[in-house]
């Protein structure tokens, strides 16, 4: 594959992170902001071995990351399924089962298309989508911060300690698997790219969480999705509402988050089974849908999800490094 740029990789990962933030469930407080920020610093440290890695993925790594993408894609489908009930689409039973199926089905169709055109096109589109979405998020954030009630910072309760929030931060950072897979294909200095991405992620997470805490404050723990509720409560104009603006960002980010996982999985599947290259995108989406069914009801912010992310980000590259040292790695360039 021709090289991706650092900005494109960062955009792909940030879209996934932003979508996970939109689908954030449970209370938010300053502890959440601190925990998630500390988690990002830890993630940065865990990602450092990736900067030293040379060469492409081995067969074993390809197998692991293909399964990882399918699992994380399934989780994203579940997040989208849960959150879509909060969004209005003009369908007579949009809040019900059929409405959710319609939303998921349409998103799935677009994701199949994204995965069929390849990771490079998805990366280019992500950069534009991330920039446009960033502007929309900035509008929502600024409209929320026009007349902040700082007292909400004290009133907000997440009911979790900092360690638990760090775990939650890892569990919702499934996109980091993409960092391990795609970083070898990125132009420029790897450390520079990694640092840029995590800095942007820190700014994004902190601004969204603090804005959400300021807007929802004391009711954040009783709203299903505090980030969505914060967008609905913060309006820049007195005589009109901009909820739909947030819905556009949500839809675009949902499509790209899932589409990128599918495209990445298809990228690996197509490499392992060249004969299946043309169908790899559709196969990935079908497998992700299956994974979503199997994982429905599984708590997203569990220890096991966090452990899976750490394994993808840190465990596998370290094992690969040890194998390289011993000299038993069979590298297959993607």
């Amino acid at each position: 594959m021709n090289k991706l740029t650092g900005r494109q990789l960062s955009a792909m990962l940030l879209i996934s992170d932003a979508f996970a933030l939109f689908c954030f469930r449970g209370g938010m407080s300053l502890t959440t902001a601190a925990g998630l920020s500390a988690g990002i610093l830890l993630q940065f440290i865990f990602a450092l071995p990736l900067a030293l890695r040379r060469g492409g993925l081995s067969s074993g790594e390809q197998g692991f990351y293909a399964i990882y993408y399918i699992i994380w894609g399934g989780m994203l489908f579940n997040m989208q399924w849960d959150t879509s009930g909060e969004l209005y689409i003009p369908y007579e039973s949009s809040g019900g089962m059929w409405g959710k199926l319609l939303i998921s089905g349409l998103i799935g169709l677009v994701c199949i298309y994204i995965s069929s055109v390849g990771i490079k096109a998805a990366a280019r589109a992500s950069l534009i989508a991330a920039a446009a979405g960033g502007v929309c998020i900035a509008i929502v954030v600024f409209s929320a911060l026009r007349s902040p009630d700082w007292g909400e910072l004290q009133r907000a309760e997440s009911g979790r300690n900092a360690c638990s929030e760090i775990q939650r931060g890892f569990a919702m950072s499934g996109g980091l698997g993409g960092l391990a897979v795609l970083l070898p294909d990125v132009k420029g200095k790897k450390l520079h790219n990694i640092t840029g991405y995590f800095a942007a992620k820190l700014v994004l997470t902190a601004s969204v969480v603090i804005t959400t805490v300021l807007v929802t404050g004391g009711i954040s723990d009783i709203t299903g999705f505090p980030a969505v509720r914060a967008a609905q409560l913060s309006q820049p104009f007195p005589s009109q509402r901009i909820d739909s603006l947030f819905m556009i960002v949500f839809t675009v980010y949902a499509v790209f988050s899932i589409g990128i996982q599918a495209a990445s999985a298809a990228y690996i599947i197509g490499d392992v089974f060249p004969a299946a290259e043309n169908y790899a995108g559709a196969v990935s989406i079908v497998l992700m849908t299956g994974a979503a069914f199997m994982l429905s009801g599984v708590p997203l912010y569990s220890f096991w999800t966090a452990a899976l992310v750490i394994t993808a980000l840190f465990g596998v590259p370290v094992i690969r490094g040890i194998c390289d040292k011993i000299g038993i790695t069979e590298v297959k360039d993607c």
Partner: protein, 479 residues
């Protein structure tokens, strides 16, 4: 017979008649000069009769007696110098190719060879102002249908040996001449090699427009936007060549194909470089907004009014409610109907005979437009919105085909699924645009992949001094 000319004059003429089926546009002028029986062949309408009479026949008929045909041909070729182009003809394929390109060919008895003379003089449209690429401050001449004239228009602007124009013939039946133009010091070698290879894969019988060759130099993947461009302006093509792009001129077509083409170039005109940078930048952003307006405005209006009225402030909402409550059709149907009607009128305007243009204006403007609003079939705000979208589309004429289709697609998505539908379709379209790439040049460069130096002629139009220092070539965008 292997297709080579034979020695006997009559046998040659018989063979020519047999091959052409006695086509009446092949003229055979028999005469005797230098004591040798000869014939001058030409194609009626392709040659200048006055040039033939003055510069060919007059000297030919006054040749002193020669020993044989070989001596006669040597004399004509080496001493008379009847024209600047004097190709030798050894076979019938070359002979017909030259005849149909406006050459006169001399054949003689006992001579298995012919001599061609470039005396082209076919009727053609002169150099005129381009009809589709308007310009205020620049030159007002466009390419012509005659390839040689178009080539000379380029040469007049780029008087450097670095400009290379390679001729080739394509089309088994049409034998159309193509001219590959590039600056040999600027063009990426790999791009040139791959374009040549793409052109070599053309096995068409005829090439009548640039549309015949464009699919061969574009990606096979479904692309909404074309990754090759066309221009009818020699000055625009020169500016592209200077940037390392490749141009293809086609004989009989007053347009050149430009490879590669980027999305941002559709918003650039030569006038941008004639005005002050601040004004050019302003106009460029107007065109970006016009493009978005052309594609999205009817869809967003329909989606908001039908499904998301909370986005409107109360005053605007009341105005729209008041005007829409009288309309009998749904807003989606109304909007689709108005857009469809416009497309029909536009197509009729292009195809119909010119004297009927006034009638179409009356029918479309007065009868359909005015009567439809007055009768309450169409609401005034909707008509205003669609008119605005259509006018906006005209700001970027090159993108009109995809804009037209996308306008309908977004309208359907917005009318049925609201902003959710528009967002979904926007994602698919964005990915499609980003997947558009030919010969390794992404269509969306310099936006994605983001190349900050490219922004100086995309987001803004920086000064000529800055651009001179930058020395841009398209290779910067290669991935």
């Amino acid at each position: 017979m292997k297709g080579e000319l034979i020695s006997g004059l009559e046998k040659n003429i018989e063979e020519i008649n047999r091959r052409t089926g006695g086509s009446s546009d092949i003229l055979v002028n028999r005469f005797v000069t230098g004591g040798i029986h000869c014939a001058l062949l030409c194609c009626e309408g392709m040659v200048s009769t006055s040039v033939i009479a003055e510069l060919i026949f007059e000297p030919l008929t006054s040749i002193p007696k020669k020993k044989d045909a070989h001596q006669l041909f040597h004399y004509i070729s080496e001493e008379l110098l009847l024209s600047t182009d004097r190709p030798e003809v050894t076979d019938y394929d070359t002979l017909f190719s030259l005849l149909y390109s406006g050459f006169a060919v001399l054949i003689a008895d006992d001579m298995p060879l012919g001599l061609g003379f470039g005396v082209q003089g076919y009727a053609s449209r002169g150099i005129q102002e381009p009809s589709g690429e308007g310009n205020v401050m620049g030159a007002h001449e466009g390419f012509s249908e005659v390839l040689n004239t178009s080539m000379s228009q380029l040469r007049r602007r780029l008087k450097t040996p670095e400009l290379v124009m390679e001729m080739m013939k394509k089309g088994d039946k049409s034998n159309t001449e193509l001219c590959l133009c590039y600056m040999k010091d600027r063009v990426p070698k790999e791009l040139l090699r791959r374009i040549r290879s793409s052109l070599n894969s053309i096995k068409l019988e005829t090439i009548l427009t640039t549309g015949y060759i464009r699919p061969f130099v574009e990606s096979r993947r479904f692309e909404l936007f074309s990754s090759t461009g066309t221009t009818e302006r020699p000055d625009v093509l020169c500016s592209k060549l200077i940037e390392g792009r490749v141009g293809i001129l086609v004989d009989g077509v007053p347009f050149a194909v430009v490879i590669p083409r980027l999305f941002c170039e559709s918003f650039q005109t030569l006038d941008d470089y004639a005005y002050k940078p601040y004004y050019a930048t302003f106009m460029r952003w107007i065109k970006y907004m016009a493009f978005l307006t052309a594609v999205l405005l009817p869809a967003v209006y329909t989606a908001i009014v039908m499904h998301h009225p909370e986005l409107l402030n109360s005053t605007l909402l009341m105005i729209l409610v008041e005007s829409e409550k009288e309309a009998p059709l749904s807003i989606l149907t109304e909007a689709a109907g108005v857009l469809l009607m416009y497309e029909i009128i536009r197509e009729a305007g292009i195809r119909l005979p010119k004297p009927m243009g006034g009638a179409v204006s009356i029918v479309s403007g007065l009868i359909i437009g005015d009567a439809a609003v007055k009768s309450g079939l169409i609401s005034t705000p909707l008509l205003t919105i669609t008119a605005l979208a259509i006018m906006s589309g005209l700001c970027v004429p090159e993108l009109n085909p995809p804009v037209t289709i996308l306008r309908f697609a977004f309208l359907a998505a917005g009318g049925i699924l609201g902003l959710f539908g528009i967002s979904l379709l926007a994602c698919a379209v964005l990915v499609n645009i980003c997947a558009t790439e030919d010969y390794g040049f992404p269509y969306t460069a310099p936006l994605s992949p983001f190349i900050s130096s490219g922004m100086s002629d995309t987001a803004v139009r920086s000064s000529m001094k800055d651009m001179q220092e930058r020395g841009f070539t398209v290779e910067e965008y290669h991935e």
